[in-house]
């Protein structure tokens, strides 16, 4: 029982680091553009499949394909914003939301048309897991966790040390005040999409390393990502990271008492509870 719990906790931290990377982007977009971006999970899918392009075509190792995939997905995110969202930004946030639902379907069907709808993996064959008593750990898990930590630290440095990062935080915090002080809104928005898209791509690649590639892979994680976003407080990247780990661990640990098929329900229940009890999220105050 104890070792099973420990194993689930490890799985939960792994899932948590994937959710956290997705949630940072989602929360910044939510905070700055004021709408729930329903295509965020599909950015993850696009990222995972762009990496597959380089892994299978050029024979690159996955970690070498990761930065390219992040760049490509950042490009896709900025392009979607410029072509579609920018034109309807001033109408109403809900219109943006419907539009992002359409973007999600477009991206997913493109992935399915290019790569097909069957499961794929980066590297075939079985990885020998390390055994520590009853606990097993795959080498990939350590890589994912380490890479996620590096990305979170880089995001932190970007948000606190660069002008653009500070401007993004300011806009997410208090839009009117930020605009009055002369922050270049359009450029900040563009950077938000780029950063959000790149982090989502990383999350997608890690998810694919841990499990496999499938056109629906990102969409199925959208609800947990939103749960992490709301739990952490909208527009708060550090809250999103914390929220991601909480949701990830809760989802895995829940399998001790309920069937695994209902994992998304656990994320959802935590989210609804947050909305009712503490709508501002777990982290109070400013960033």
């Amino acid at each position: 029982m104890m070792s099973e719990t420990l194993q689930l906790l490890i799985n939960g931290l792994l899932l948590g680091s994937i959710l956290a990377l997705g949630a940072v982007g989602a929360t910044m977009i939510f905070g700055i553009l004021r709408f729930a971006h329903f295509a965020h999970g599909d950015f993850m899918t696009v990222g995972a499949y762009s990496a597959l392009l380089f892994v299978s075509a050029l024979g690159l190792p996955v970690l070498a394909a990761l930065p390219v995939a992040m760049l490509m997905t950042a490009g896709v995110a900025v392009a979607v914003d410029q072509v579609v969202y920018r034109r309807i930004r001033r109408v109403a946030p809900v219109i943006l939301l419907i539009s992002s639902f359409a973007t999600a379907l477009i991206l997913r069907s493109l992935v399915q048309m290019i790569w097909g709808s069957s499961n794929q993996v980066y590297v075939s064959g079985i990885q020998l897991p390390w055994r520590f008593g009853p606990i097993t750990l795959k080498p990939d898990h350590l890589i994912i966790f380490a890479a996620a930590v590096v990305l979170v630290v880089l995001t932190h440095l970007f948000l606190t040390r660069t002008r653009m990062g500070k401007a993004m935080r300011a806009m997410s915090d208090n839009m009117d005040l930020a605009l009055v002080t002369g922050i270049p809104a359009e450029r900040v928005i563009m950077w938000t999409w780029a950063v959000g898209g790149a982090l989502a791509a990383a999350a997608g690649v890690f998810l694919a390393m841990d499990t496999r590639l499938h056109p629906n892979m990102g969409w199925t994680l959208l609800l947990p990502i939103f749960a992490a976003t709301i739990l952490g407080g909208i527009g708060r990247p550090y809250g999103a990271i914390l929220g991601g780990f909480v949701i990830g661990c809760a989802m895995e640990l829940s399998t001790l008492i309920i069937p695994g098929a209902y994992k998304p329900g656990v994320a959802f229940a935590i989210m609804v509870l947050t909305l009712i009890v503490r709508p501002q999220g777990i982290i109070r105050g400013t960033l």
Partner: protein, 310 residues
């Protein structure tokens, strides 16, 4: 033969248009009138379809069945089962802002689908419930009359609601919640009422769908078919306008069917998966509508205020 095939396709097509028109009218009650952003249509659609299937089928060891009730009792039962579900969802989500409501409703719809997919004793899991017969032994033609009657009935009721003082309060809440609250209206109650009524309409659509196809399975209630197409219909037709909801259902289902033919014409080597290609086209269509005509083909026309001239 050719003509007969065409006729039978037309009957099939129009039945589905009618069922989707009912879903769109239900959504119009929630989004068009009240501004409640429900993207969990598939959930209420599924509750209606499964309720009707369970209530009307004969005994089976594979799912909760054997009630063998008549068609109309099944429809009424579907609505009665939907009311507490919608009340619960509505109570949870009543105070949420539009985007939170969207996330919450899609989550609920997915959980409802997961329940039907995993609880074998209730719904036979992924295998679904077969043998949901059409009522009175009718074929597609006779069933079209029944579906048409339901569309007409629901249209009249929803249109009456829209013109009534109740409908005016809903629009007032949508347009300016603070002012409506200041006028002494109980916002939460009106929103909840509209949410439940809209959900029950969706549930009727689900029940009719179950009898039309003769089979219910969890695949039909994925967000794409259950929710997204209905949204495209309402947005394209013109939200807030019941005629728009009907027109949108017809046009979008025509386009959706046409994409099937179009996907069949293009060599598969070029597009990969035909079903993905159809989704791509309908997604692009929605983006074009949102960018160029966000009010839809038939924009909302407000009914005149009582006592106002013209």
């Amino acid at each position: 033969m050719e003509l007969l095939g065409l006729l039978s396709y037309a009957l099939f097509f129009l039945n589905l248009v009618g069922i989707y028109a009912i879903l769109a009218l239900g959504l119009n009650m929630q989004w068009g009138f009240t501004g409640q952003f429900n993207i969990g249509i598939a959930g209420f659609f599924a509750v209606g379809a499964y309720s009707a299937a369970i209530l009307t089928t004969g005994p089976s060891e594979d799912w909760l069945g054997g009630f063998g009730l008549p068609f109309f009792v099944g429809i009424i039962g579907a609505v009665l089962i939907t009311i507490p579900v919608a009340l619960l969802v509505g109570r949870i989500t009543a105070r949420l802002r539009a985007d939170y409501l969207a996330i919450a409703t899609i989550g609920i719809a997915e959980i409802i689908r997961l329940i039907f997919q995993n609880e074998d004793w209730l719904s036979n899991g992924v295998r679904g419930i077969p043998g949901v017969a059409k009522p009175f032994g009718v074929g597609n033609g006779g069933y079209l009359v029944i579906v048409g009657a339901f569309v007409a009935l629901i249209y009249v009721l929803v249109e009456l609601a829209r013109r009534s003082p109740w409908g005016r309060v809903l629009r007032a809440i949508r347009d300016n919640e603070a002012a409506t609250a200041a006028a002494g209206k109980d916002i939460a109650r009106f929103r909840l009422e509209a949410f439940v009524v809209g959900s029950c309409i969706m549930s009727v659509g689900g029940a009719l769908y179950a009898h039309f196809l003769g089979f219910v399975g969890p695949e039909s209630f994925r967000p794409l078919y259950g929710t997204f197409l209905v949204w495209v219909m309402l947005i394209a037709g013109g939200s807030g306008n019941n005629n728009g909801a009907l027109l949108g259902a017809l046009i979008v289902w025509m386009i959706w069917s046409a994409t099937e033919m179009l996907a069949g014409l293009i060599p598969q080597a070029l597009i990969g998966s035909p079903s993905a290609f159809r989704v791509l086209l309908i997604g692009v269509l929605l983006q074009v509508i949102l960018v160029t005509r966000p009010a839809g083909l038939l924009p909302e026309k407000r009914p005149p205020l009582p006592g106002a001239s013209r």
